[in-house]
Amino acid sequence: MVSVEDYGEFETEWCPGCGNFMILKAVKRALAELGKSPDEVLLTSGIGQSSKLPHYLKCNVFNGLHGRSLPPAIGAKLANHELTVLAVTGDGDCYGEGGNHFLHNVRRNPNITLIVHDNQIYGLTKGQASPTSELGMKTKVQTHGVFNTPLNPLSLAISLDCSFVSRGFAGDVAHLTELIKKAIQHKGFSLVDVLQPCISFNKLNTFSWYSERVYKMEEGDHDPNDRVKAFEKSLEWGEKIPLGIFYVNEKPTFEDHLDVLKSGTLVRNKSDPQKVDELLDRFI
């Protein structure tokens, strides 16, 4: 039996009251409830307040560069596909600096779970606009207010036929835990975009701002297998903001296409230099 305690308790560098704490709680609970032990889990992250999360629980960690949580995640997953791999990132990290990796890993569909702490602001660098910041939001850099169209991560993912697209809210740990569990259990690339208030720098999208707007999509109301409906739902933003699983599309994972992984993990394969001998004949 794995318990939440197995994942340890660590001192953090987050602001008191930060939404990150709830996400951390949900991640730990989800892993424990799924019976994943710390040694079989790998968390990769980039840079940002979100990306410090892997340091605050006990498991394998690769905390890399800004925007680059996904490339090491897929490299590690291919090297050892028995690991449960989660990439933990933020809206700046994932949709800004790492936008290209986001697009192409949705296309690859590795069996990896991507958790995005989406607080619609840059926290670590103290309050500049992020790709998901609201139009008109004024910052010290965006002095005339944001005029670049905000990126809609859910619509983007659905348009790319991402195999699992969901949204959670840091203010609802129980619901978020379930979402993360489903995302981990889903075979394929799964996105969990988490609405997360930044109490220090985002004075617009606060706990109460989100709480007044978010609602959970009931299973009967929304069919996650319907891509067009999922796309419509993903466009809903403003007075009402839906939470839950928007889109599920079961399809072969990146690993499924690789026959070399069928006989076991790459890391456990033994190599034999003599094997190249047969190739040398072709140059004679």
């Binding site: 079989e40 394998n60 690769f62 680059r68 490339p71 897929i74 070399v260 790459l266 890391v267 230099p273």
Partner: protein, 578 residues
């Protein structure tokens, strides 16, 4: 009499000059000759002016001289561009296709019209076989044994079926017969076939690197295609299924090296392949390899920069960049093969160094080495040792607390991988403590920085001393690194035959430099001349700063072309070195 003949095929991209060139190269290799072939091509799929040049000799060769004996001209431009290089040679061309303006009487003797198109149509009913006619004609003017070419064509076209094979051989035979009968200086280029027909290989540098990686047990390769490195990626991909390798074409070079680091962190032997421009994007992840102490092998095939530069040409212009790329300081290793043998054995060595020291290791090649074909002895895979330097499950199970960055006297910490023996492994791009968690205290920073840098001292001891060629105590020492090995060896041979006192010191282990050995060998040299394919003498600077020795003269070339022995000697004369 010893044979030393240069054959050049010139034409537009898409005309099939490479097929002709490779067929001839294989033919001469089969008959026991040493063959060396280089390509000059432009960055386009069709058109332009490209050449495939091969040198045939019964002596070992690794460089291309500037004179051409036989030119197969597939277009007019080939004649215009190459006629200056002809010295008592012959230009084989099809007067029905190419019109020549031959106003110069001196040139009369050198043109030899072979109706390639007509012969192809007459014999096979299709003009596409005219290239085989050309191959045959080249052998015809040499009165060379035809059977070798027939065997090579049978191998080359085997996959396309018997009819295609037969037609190519028929066309080649017709070209051969035509040339033998009609070439006015009949058998002028006759070569005597070597008796020693051992099982040597004909191989390009890129293929040799790919073979070395497979021999070393590469398990993961992520790369973004970029000339002239792509051949390695392609070679490994072609054999990936048989060797249990995952090859992934990354969305960009940033992803490529980051993927490699993730795979390596998880325990796979991993490499990336790129050229200077791609490596620019990787320099961020290079630092990540440095601070996380994650092994990575980076194959970097140089081409002239900056930016897109000359995409299909050669240069050794990236050394200083590779030595200092990424912010901060951390150990790295730079290897620079000079021959296909080096490419094979040193690629395998690169993986062992990366794993032992947990650092990034570069294999620096260039377009010249990557794309040229060389004859060499068959590689011996039994000489390749795979050393992973990983903790066993038992060792790890006996460890109370696993510390990824444990402080040790050498700076090397024991390496475990995720998912092993119930332990966890933590790596971090921030400065971190022994467990891998963020630690920004000054005390920790000093310890960790020292730990990483300390590895360089031990690594330096593993670096092989430079290879000396020629008399030990020569007055002039020509210093080179990487792909200039072949041309410089020939320069030494030529200059010694002219009575000069000269030798060559060649570096394959470029960084960290094997200091003691280098100082011992070079300490007594009267004149050190560094020869490099770049504009600023990048290796010379490294040599001077590391050893304190003085480089007397730099011989440099950065026009995109490789060194010919003649060009080096010319430059030495201009500089008054000889």
């Amino acid at each position: 009499m010893s044979t030393d003949l240069v054959i050049k095929v010139g034409g537009a991209a898409g005309q099939g000059l490479q097929t002709i060139g490779v067929a001839l190269a294989k033919t001469f290799k089969k008959s026991g000759f040493n063959v060396f072939a280089t390509q000059f091509y432009l960055s386009r799929v069709r058109g332009g002016h490209n050449t495939f040049q091969l040198r045939v000799s019964d002596e070992p060769i690794r460089a291309m001289p500037e004179k051409v004996d036989i030119l197969i001209a597939l277009d007019e431009e080939s004649i215009e561009e190459q006629i200056e290089e002809m010295f008592d040679g012959v230009i084989i061309f099809d007067n029905d296709v190419i019109k020549i303006n031959n106003n110069n009487d001196n040139n009369n003797g050198i043109f030899f019209h072979v109706p390639m198109l007509k012969i192809a149509k007459d014999v096979c009913g299709n003009k596409i076989y005219s290239n085989s006619v050309a191959s045959g004609a080249a052998l015809g003017v040499m009165c060379f044994e035809f059977d070798y070419l027939a065997k090579v064509l049978a191998e080359v076209f085997k996959k396309k079926g018997d009819e295609i094979v037969d037609n190519n051989i028929k066309a080649a035979r017709a070209g051969y017969d035509y040339a033998k009968k009609n070439f006015s200086s009949g058998c002028k280029f006759t070569v005597s076939e070597p008796t020693d027909k051992d099982g040597r290989m004909l191989i390009a540098g890129n293929d040799a690197v790919g073979l070395g990686a497979l021999a070393a047990g590469v398990q993961f390769l992520a790369a973004y295609p970029m000339t002239p490195s792509t051949g390695v990626m392609t070679y490994v991909a072609a054999n990936a299924d048989d060797f249990n390798v995952v090859v992934e074409q990354a969305e960009d070079e940033i992803a490529a090296l980051n993927m490699v680091l993730g795979a390596s962190f998880a325990g796979a032997r991993a490499m990336t392949t790129t050229s200077g421009g791609g490596f620019c994007l990787m320099s961020e992840a290079l630092g990540l390899s440095g601070i996380t102490e994650t092994p990575a092998v980076i194959f970097l095939s140089q081409r002239p920069g900056p930016a897109t530069g000359l995409p299909t040409m050669t240069e050794q212009g990236d050394l200083q960049f590779v030595l200092t790329a990424a912010q901060g300081e951390f150990p790295r290793c730079v290897l620079a093969p000079g021959t296909p043998d080096d490419c094979f054995y040193m690629t395998a060595e690169a993986f062992n160094i990366a794993d032992k020291y947990q650092i990034p290791v570069f294999i620096m090649s260039d377009q010249y080495l990557a794309d040229s074909l060389f004859t060499c002895q068959r590689f011996d895979p039994s000489k390749v040792k795979v050393a992973r330097y990983l903790m066993s499950d038992e060792e790890l199970a006996d460890t109370d607390e696993y510390k990824r960055y444990e402080l040790t006297p050498t700076g090397i910490s024991l390496r475990a991988i995720p998912g092993q023996a119930g332990k966890v492994v933590v790596a971090d791009s921030d400065e971190h403590n022994e467990y891998g968690h963020i630690d920004q205290t000054i005390e920790n920073r000093i310890l960790m920085n020292e730990k990483r840098m300390k590895k360089l001292d031990l690594l330096r001891e593993d670096m092989e001393p430079p290879h000396q060629y020629g008399p030990k105590d020569a007055r002039i020492t020509l210093v080179g690194w990487g792909s200039t090995y072949g041309p410089l060896m020939e320069v030494v041979n030529i200059l010694i035959s002219e009575g000069h006192s000269v030798n060559h010191l060649h570096f394959t282990h470029v960084f960290p430099l094997p200091l003691e050995a280098t100082k011992n060998i070079l300490g007594n040299s009267e004149t050190i001349v560094c020869v490099e394919n770049n504009a600023t003498g990048q290796f010379a600077k490294l040599l001077e700063s590391e050893t304190g020795l003085h480089v007397s003269e730099n011989v440099l070339r950065s026009d995109g072309k490789p060194y010919s022995p003649e060009s080096i000697i010319r430059s030495m004369r201009e500089k008054g070195v000889i």
